[in-house]
């Protein structure tokens, strides 16, 4: 039974994608129903596998010498990530019923979303690095297609291509890792790497480790690869929620957490992971302070929260990082979907036109405040507990200066969250008139997520237990929920962090005093701290090289034949050499 259920987590969304695609755009109601049914079903199946999580492969199909075995391992980490992908994914699909009501080409939309969800589950469940890479690339292609879903809008197309290129750069790192692994072990099983990494030459292990780090940073939009995520905001809001909360960006953190036992001994690897996390959180937090587009602010906040997770993985707090991933996926989905409700209601994303919505959209307002509680990390929201665990782990196992910057980041998070709430809901109105306070399907998905934000921390103990029992190489320590909560409330780190968060609020209240500092920082933050310029330079250099290479493209058949035959001889020579 377990093998079938595990396979169904991937298969159900994919079957759904095929059905939706074949039905076509002519019957929108059927499409809504089918997409919801398939995604909710796969979510339920994933939840039903959760109690039976095991570190053994439940399904193994041999695909010959080179590809190795295609095996599904529903261990704690894998099932957990696929539960997030399918459950939060299905909530985004439910939200889309209202959001995409009048949209065209629904079949393409739903098919891609379902394909995306299934690929993400496959990425988390597959047991060999090669298949992880395959699913990884499928998620990259789906995200590209979904970000440029409105393909008559040049911004959307550019955003999609940017996301594709950035994640491809990372994908090369992952592929290099998989091939190196194959060259040394004769298979690319993840388990082989975790148990026998000490047999690898240190340089090779370092290459695999840093290759995976590049892949993870690109996928999770960490500096210096972060600039694709804000541009991905051109996508329809349910897709943004899907990419930011349920699928795409979690893959990077998942990859690092999965391989942590193998890579922790690489000199400099842990500090590199932590530094990337801290830097991304800092830069993204500052950019969130300067952004004037509601979705961009949330996008930057995603980058900064993923920075927290990277920091946690680097400090060895695997449980804290995955716990924060869980919290983040729920409260960020809530925030994005609430923002989606605001956007459909006002028909604008510009913060400067919003304001005064607390009274006129009371329901969405409450939902947004609950989501912000999670984001900032205030008590009784899930984000509080996971963030405190991360900071505690960082203080114990990481360099002190990184911990200090991370504390600062917690304060910045509070600052930009309260700025966002102020500009959208609490400030006086600036023109835009709300048309509704959330439509029925929107409200359902928002309420589910809000309840999740306020309660999922109760599951922390069981979640730790799950990771501890099914991940033999990771040495996760399980504690009961109540012990954990007690520990958090008695730790001095918690109170320091809460103090910093309150300080963040205080700075917002006393913001006229900081006006001059803001004036200095704002131009840097709005220009993305120069990373965009570097991107442009790379693009220009590539184009110039391409123009130089054009000379070789004569278009003459004879020359093309020479090229083909020369290539053939080169391959033959290499084969003879290798003999």
């Amino acid at each position: 039974m377990l093998p079938i259920l595990t396979l169904l987590i991937i298969a159900l969304p994919w079957i759904g994608a095929a059905c939706v695609w074949l039905i076509g755009d002519s019957r929108p109601r059927l499409l809504h129903t089918l997409a919801t049914a398939f995604s909710v079903l796969s979510g339920l199946v994933a939840l039903s596998v959760l109690p039976f999580a095991t570190s053994e492969a439940v399904l193994r199909v041999s695909l010959g010498g080179i590809f190795g075995d295609f095996a599904l391992v529903p261990d704690g980490l894998g099932v957990f990530i696929s539960v997030i992908a399918t459950v939060v994914g299905s909530i985004a699909v439910i939200f889309a019923i209202d959001y995409m009501k009048h949209a065209h080409q629904l079949a393409r939309f739903y098919a891609l979303i379902l394909f995306f969800i299934g690929a993400m589950a496959g990425l988390a469940l597959s047991s060999s690095l090669l298949f992880t890479f395959f699913f990884w690339e499928i998620t990259a292609v789906c995200s590209y297609a979904l970000i440029s879903f409105h393909n008559d809008d040049p911004n959307a197309v550019a955003g999609g291509i940017k996301a594709l290129i950035f994640t491809q750069v990372g994908g090369v790192g992952l592929l290099a890792g998989a091939l190196l692994l194959y060259a040394y072990f004769g298979n690319s099983e993840i388990n082989t790497l975790l148990t026998q990494h000490q047999n690898l030459p240190p340089q090779v292990l370092a290459a695999v480790g840093f290759g995976c780090l590049v892949a993870a940073a690109a996928k999770s939009a960490q500096a210096p690869f972060h600039s694709w995520l804000p541009d991905a905001m051109e996508a329809p809001t349910p897709v943004t929620a899907l990419i930011h909360a349920a699928t795409m960006v979690n893959a990077g953190v998942y990859l690092l957490a999965r391989f942590y036992p193998a890579f922790e001994s690489i000199p400099g690897w842990r500090v590199a992971v932590m530094t990337i996390g801290v830097l991304s959180a800092l830069l993204a937090g500052l950019m969130a302070l300067a952004a004037d587009d509601i979705k961009r602010v949330l996008a930057y906040s995603t980058i900064s929260q993923l920075g927290f997770m990277f920091y946690a993985v680097g400090s060895g707090a695997i449980f804290a990082s995955q716990f924060h991933l869980l919290s983040h996926s729920i409260f960020k989905a809530l925030l994005f979907l609430s923002a989606g409700a605001v956007i459909t209601s006002l028909d604008t994303r510009d913060l400067l036109k919003m304001g005064g919505l607390a009274k006129r959209m009371p329901f969405v307002h409450v939902m947004f405040v609950i989501g912000s509680l999670g984001l900032v990390g205030l008590p009784l929201a899930n984000g509080f507990f996971s963030k405190e665990l991360i900071l505690e782990g960082g203080l114990e196992h990481g360099p002190f200066w990184l911990y200090l910057i991370m504390l600062l980041n917690a304060g910045i998070t509070a600052l930009y969250s309260v700025r966002l709430l102020w500009m959208v809901f609490w400030d006086k109105p600036h023109g835009a008139q709300p048309a509704h306070d959330g439509m029925p399907a929107m409200r359902i998905s928002l309420v589910v997520l809000a309840i999740g934000t306020l309660t999922t921390w109760l599951l922390a103990g069981n979640f730790g237990q799950l990771l501890a029992t099914t991940l033999p190489s990771h040495h996760v320590e399980a504690e009961g929920t109540m012990t954990l909560v007690e520990e958090i409330f008695t730790a001095s780190a918690t109170w320091i962090a809460l103090g910093v968060i309150l300080l963040g609020f205080g700075i917002w209240i006393a913001r006229p005093a900081f006006a001059s500092l803001a004036r200095v920082l704002k131009p840097f933050a709005q220009s993305g701290f120069g990373f965009e310029t570097v991107n442009q330079l790379i693009v220009r250099a590539t184009k110039r090289t391409a123009a130089l290479m054009q000379v070789t493209q004569t278009g003459q058949l004879n020359w093309n034949v020479v090229g083909i035959l020369a290539g053939l001889f080169a391959v033959l020579l290499i084969l003879l050499q290798g003999k």
């Binding site: 493209q553 004569t554 058949l557 004879n558 035959l565």
Partner: protein, 103 residues
């Protein structure tokens, strides 16, 4: 190097490949290019049969050769059909006129 049957086949093979290769590079006429391609494939055929003879798997070599003949015929027919189309559209069979792939 004795003058065994295999060596004769080997020399013929290299000769055919060389002639075909030269034809592919040097001719401008599409029909000539297709003919050159055919010559190269015939060289490969000879190689297949000779290789089958040498390692004792005569049947395998010959059946592979038959498969190649079938595939090769399709290539030739497709090439000729393209030639007819190109002649109809461009009024010439000179491949220098076909430079749309230029970068």
């Amino acid at each position: 190097m004795s003058l065994s049957l295999f060596n004769i086949a080997l020399v013929g093979l290299i000769g055919l490949l060389g002639i075909g290769f030269y034809g592919l590079m040097a001719s401008r006429n599409l029909i000539r290019i297709i003919v050159a391609l055919q010559i190269m494939v015939k060289g490969a055929l000879l190689g297949l049969i000779a290789a089958g003879q040498v390692n004792g798997q005569v049947n395998l070599g010959q059946s592979m050769a038959l498969t190649v003949i079938v595939a090769d015929t399709i290539v030739a027919v497709m090439g000729m059909a393209l030639g007819v189309q190109i002649r109809a559209r461009l009024g010439t069979l000179d491949v220098r006129a076909l430079s749309r792939l230029r970068g």
